[in-house]
Amino acid sequence: MDRSIEKHLHALTDRLHYMRDIFGGAPNDNVALLQSKLQEYRERQTWDNQVDPFADISNLEDLFAFVERKLEADLSPMDKVRIVRHPQRICLRDILENVYDNFTEIGGQDEHSIDPGMLIARAYVTRRRGKKTFHQSVMVIGQEKGHGEDFRNGGSVKPWGNAKALQYMRVAETEGIPIHCYVFTPGSFPVEDYPGAAQQIARNIYSMAGIRVPIIAIFSEGGSGGAEAIGLADKRLMLSHGYYSVISPEGAAAIEGRLRGGERASPELIAHCARYQCITAQDNLQFGYIDQIIQEPSLGARPHHFDFFRALRQEVLRATDETVLAVRGAPFFRGMAARRRRTAENLEEYPVRWGLGATDKKRLVLRRQKKFLKLSRFACVDKRAFFTKLFNAWRDMWRGCWYRVKYDFYRKHQRTISFILEEIAAEWLLVKARMAAPFKALRWGKKPVPDPEQAASDLMALSHWVEDNRIRRWNYLSPRYKIDRTLTCPNAETYGCLDLWGPDLFAEFAGVCSYCGYHFPMEPEWCVQNVFDTNSVFEFNTDIEAGNPLNFPDFDEKIQEAQERTEHKSGCMTFEARIDNIKLVAAMLMGTFRGGSVGAAEGQKFIEAAERARENRQPFLAYVHGTAGIRIQEGTHGLIQMPRCTVAVHQYIESGGLYVVLYDTNSFAGPVASFLGCSPYQFAVRSSNIGFAGPGVIKETTGMDIPPKYHRSYRALSRGHIQGIWDRRHIRANLKQALLTMGGRNLYYR
């Protein structure tokens, strides 16, 4: 047989297998037809009775292309997930070889790397204008799945891999070159070894919110936290067959179907979850979480699609150009040109230098932050009336003006102003004494004689203990104290704790085992009422409600049930309060409302609370009564809260605020891996669990059994994630101590 025909046949067989794989082995008439045609061709060839084998194979190839185009039209979201996971899918090395003109892999090579799942390269593109050649460097960072290479771990990056990515982002920032991030990950590897998966992702997101070079992210497989670790970018492009999702469809199905102990979800349920989570590029473009889709060939890009790489190169360069031009001093004409070139064949002829000045860099960062803060506002139910919003805006404006006068003007010139005021007061005293002298002479009666005993006691006695307004009796008791029953401490086997009587435990003992100190979970109200000064709590934004933006089946009822049960409209309560007269703004994630999961409403409330704390120049406390992660039923509307809230926190901290996080009960996943984990001061209440993924998810994704106390806060303390562990009964005193020591005298350092 002709070698060249054999090659063609081999390629067609590959295409056929690929097609079969991406439809999950389901019977498909079109695929069956292609198979029979191919078989027919092979048989004819064996008998050697073909007139023109080249023409036949060319026809066959046309038929393949036709069927591929036909199948492309009815790809389901789950098919796209299978495309993305297929070993023949393009990977980052293919992109480096075909999109960039030259590259050097840095931070390790292949398996000789601290984490082969994270690939970093210095690459350059060459552009020509006339006879002039421009070399433009970029830092390429992304997860490398390899084509089925074991050591890549399927692009599931360990914490140190994300740390490496952050390290080289800093290098790019120093060198002033743009960063291109390629997201090819099913999710981060959920191990809690130093620095902890969640902690490292939080650091990455926090840093990316302030990196002063253009960042372009290209999503192919955007799995949850792993994607966000390198996904906070000025421009987010997405490959047309990729997915970007808060959790894998299998994970969502396991949660939706309430499966436990290694049970498998049915393929129908998985496909159902994939459809309702709206994970495709088209959905995400519609929501505004990505800026542009890069069209792939039919049934997804594979390494031999060279035209696709060319298109990808054009789009990536254009995105970088646009980002740079948008923040340059005079972007008008070239910005217009960059937009016009969208339809042009070749943008290499219009090179744009990617360097930025100091002002441009500031503008770039601000633009990126604003972009993220604006996202997903539509996804929560905001029931505030128009006039309420108007009034709030008006009040915020005046409050802003007042605080600007108070902090930006008065505090800066405080010494001068107080000196002038003292001078005036002294002058006035003198004038007053002179003027009052004639009337004083007329006054009758004795002068008060000081009591000598009192004077002696004042001099000799020790100073009095000043009450620090400690709460000696609880203001709020858990309703469970009314139930006449005993409870067993979970540590009873280890420490021999005796049974505890409910009315004691939930009232006087504040939910703490009196034998071993184990903390039973308490209601969120317990903290609100017992930690802050009495009657000092003022809740705001109560009308922002959790909704069902993706119309996930049966979810409206679940949200409504949670709202009725907890009497809160969302899982986040934001309020202003005082601790011993120290004013602060607090956001509380409540574990009682859908497990404390964070969706668009919770994110929006958190952001507004951070902004309020910034405006008021007050400390910002995130009290995490409990959070199970991002609300999966909201899909990317939930996921996008990770970068959004982190941006808000970044702005708050950078403007000089004190951000303290306190974890109670169980805190896991997205929020810990972003806006909570990025705080420099994090504390936990005893017996709390902190981590990235729960034991079930770790078992499912990595196959590892984890020790029973793997997520205990003491482990988080040992690896440096949190700074201290507090007894629940001392939260108030410890919080005050933390505010005073970390916030300084004015509670607003800098």
Binding site: I483, D484, R485, T486, D499, D705, P707
Partner: protein, 215 residues
């Protein structure tokens, strides 16, 4: 040396250990659906963190507490007459037969035939350097001990005290402690075998290891 062989024969004749499951405190008992003849399992998992088969509930002050099997075995008796009644602490609920494993049999035989030297108090223990050196080069059985010989160092709160062996002379057959872990008072440190019995003990242990059928 007959007695160890006899013991092995006895164990072979009745290769079970009877385990009585009792209640830890007073309360109302309600049994789960277990019958004599059922196979139940002890705690499982790499860290024994998953509790064994549930046998009954003990309810005191509306606090239902599960009572689980502590070992793998077959239930031989369930005191159904107690179902729903109030019982005192220590009342037997279930009797089960635990089939002895090879390791358990060997352990029993050794404990029976060796002279066990116990830890006098809770501490960490090491061998003295020359004994330790001998163990490293020739294994534990190369070390001969006699009454009054300094064999151990008892270390507690960084205070190290030499500890002399007391008991009949012989060679060390088995070591029951790790130098990294604390040993409770009264727990055995080593098992010592008189030199004349060494061959026969080794023979019986070998027999137990090869002939014992695990269920």
């Amino acid at each position: 040396m007959l007695n160890i062989t006899e013991l092995l024969e006895q164990l072979k004749a009745s290769p079970y250990e009877e385990i009585h499951i009792t209640v830890p405190h007073t309360g109302h008992v309600s049994f789960t659906n277990i019958q004599p003849g059922d196979v139940v399992y002890g705690p499982t998992g790499a860290w024994k963190d998953k509790p064994g088969t549930q046998l009954a509930f003990l309810d005191r002050e509306r606090n239902p507490k599960p009572i689980c099997a502590s070992q793998k075995g077959v239930i031989s008796d369930v005191r159904r007459e107690l179902d729903g009644s109030f019982v005192e602490a220590g009342t037997r609920l279930v009797t089960m037969q635990h089939a002895l494993t090879r390791e358990e049999v060997v352990n029993r035989l050794l404990r029976h035939s060796l002279h066990l030297f116990n830890a006098p108090e809770r501490a960490k223990y090491y061998f003295v350097p020359n004994v330790d050196k001998k163990i490293r080069t020739g294994g534990v059985r190369s070390v001969a001990v006699h009454d009054g010989m300094e064999v151990f160092i008892m270390s507690r709160m960084k205070r190290e005290v030499p500890l002399a062996y007391s008991g009949p002379g012989g060679c060390i057959y088995e070591v029951y402690f790790k130098h990294t872990d604390n040993v409770e008072a009264g727990q055995p440190l080593v098992g010592v075998c008189p030199p004349d019995q060494l061959a026969s003990i080794e023979d019986v242990i070998m027999r137990a290891q090869t002939e014992w059928q695990e269920e």
